[in-house]
């Protein structure tokens, strides 16, 4: 799968020379000199080990973190020049363990951003129903339940529905399927991959799982110790001549390496 040509209007997210250091202390750099563009409608996977800076990059996109140096642009505007609340309401966010609100019902969880955006209650209810159906949960059965009454996989489906609620053009996903058992994970990955193609969202997906990266990513950005070491399609990734890429490819079976 080839990346689309890079015209300015096709760029949804852009990192321009971004450094991020904890408390702005240079010796505590988490992200070093990252420049990267995410194209409209693509799924870009940020792949790396724990501590490689993947999650930090994600949080720099929705302004939960601010670059120490450089800038991050979302839809052409620097995150530092945008009201963070407004910015975040236009960006869906899915995390490991879903982070659902335990005191809200499933319907209230999914309808949160629309309610913050002051939609009419009937419109919220209709949207919640539509979304639960989209993620494969029967609305009458699940709407009134609380998160604790759901399995991990079901909770994660709710997490995806909640992120999609206000129909944001961008989705950020931080190891969303990481805490699930392998069977449920594979099931959700397949469904999500189909959903992502259908919805035409710009998705930035963080994972440390090379299989997940190859399955879901149109492009894979490989991070190591806060630096971007490689960027390309899954096919390119398998042919990369970089020790960190080799380390990840070594996790694959020979057959998986061949058929991609």
């Amino acid at each position: 799968m080839n990346a689309k040509p890079e015209a300015p209007s096709d760029v949804t997210i852009e990192f321009r020379g971004v450094n991020y250091c904890i408390n702005d202390i240079p010796s505590r750099a988490i992200v070093s000199n990252v420049s990267l563009t995410v194209l409209r409608g693509e799924t870009l996977v940020l792949l790396g080990r724990s501590g490689s800076g993947k999650t930090t990059l994600l949080r720099l996109i929705n302004g939960m973190l601010v670059p120490t140096q450089g800038q991050v642009f979302v839809e052409g505007r620097a995150t530092t020049d945008t009201d963070p609340i407004h910015l975040r309401r236009g960006i869906g966010y899915v995390i490991q363990e879903a982070g659902l609100f335990p005191h809200f019902t499933i319907a209230e969880n999914v309808g949160l951003v629309p309610s913050l955006e002051k939609w009419e209650p009937t419109r919220i209810a209709a949207r919640v129903e539509e979304l639960l159906q989209l993620v494969g949960l029967n609305p009458p059965e699940f709407s009134g339940r609380h998160p604790r009454e759901l399995s991990g996989g079901q909770r994660q489906r709710v997490g995806v529905a909640r992120a999609l609620a206000a129909d944001p053009p961008i989705l950020l996903m931080d190891e969303p399927f990481g805490a699930l058992d392998p069977v449920t994970r594979a099931e959700l990955q397949r469904e999500f991959s189909a959903l992502a193609h259908r919805l035409n969202k710009t998705i930035v997906f963080v994972t440390h799982d090379i299989r997940e990266a190859l399955l879901l990513g149109q492009r894979i950005a490989l991070l190591q110790a806060g630096r971007l070491v490689a960027l390309g399609s899954p096919q390119d990734f398998l042919r990369l001549n970089h020790p960190e890429a080799h380390a990840f490819c070594a996790c694959l079976e020979p057959s998986e390496r061949a058929h991609k």
Binding site: M64, P84, R88, L100, F101, P102, H103, V113, R162
Partner: protein, 210 residues
């Protein structure tokens, strides 16, 4: 006179002292909650106020209750002999358990949930009122419960500065060296404390999320 006969012959007096006692406790608790819960919300968001507020509240707790009542008497407006002074002292006493539990409850919310709330574009106030507060409610209530039980006990000492309540019997009994009279104050006070503890404990369990 055995305790039971004293109780029967003085039942209306004991009953009205119990009502006074409950009134004293309810007024003090209402003020303590109205001060400590918002203050707890404030110190969750303002780090620098945290140790000051918790420190001051702890100092009040360390002052022996009888001394605290005594200290307040000469202070203008809030001082003097009677109920008003007693209520002020009881409020100061009840602050710490409520303030500490409010702070602990609000700051102890699962970081994943807070991360999600922030990422959804909730403002700090929305996160505080719609996420932190409901999730901390049972812990805040546990603080209110502790404070209520303490206040019911400490309020008996308020009789020393003329605030009335069940302490009246206790002090009178001590002066008369009469167990019956002491028990006429001590038993209803203990029952009140047990009753408040059970009632608030039930409410606390009902409000617990997860």
């Amino acid at each position: 006179m055995n305790p039971w006969t004293f109780f029967v012959t003085h039942r209306s007096e004991i009953f009205s002292a119990t009502l006074d006692h409950v009134t004293l406790v309810l007024i003090a608790m209402a003020f303590a909650i109205a001060i400590a819960v918002p203050l707890g919300m404030l110190i969750v968001q303002h780090r620098h106020l945290r140790s000051i507020a918790l420190g001051i509240a702890s100092v009040f707790q360390t002052i022996p209750s009888l001394a605290l009542f005594g200290f307040l008497i000469p202070i203008p407006f809030i001082g003097g002999i009677g109920r008003r002074t007693a209520i002020v002292a009881l409020i100061l006493y009840a602050l710490l358990p409520i303030l500490r539990n409010t702070y602990v409850g609000l700051s102890g919310v699962d970081p994943t949930i807070l991360e999600a709330a922030e990422a959804m574009g909730m403002t700090n106030t929305q996160i505080l009122l719609r996420v932190r507060f409901p999730l901390a409610l049972s812990i805040i209530l546990a603080g209110i419960r502790t404070a209520t039980v303490i206040t019911i006990g400490v309020a008996t000492i308020a009789a020393a500065i003329g605030a009335g309540g069940l302490g009246t019997f206790i002090f009178r009994g001590v002066a008369m060296v009469s167990d019956s009279v002491i028990l006429a104050g001590a038993i209803p006070a203990a029952l009140l404390a047990i009753f408040a503890d059970l009632l608030l404990g039930q409410l606390e369990r009902r409000l617990k999320v997860v």
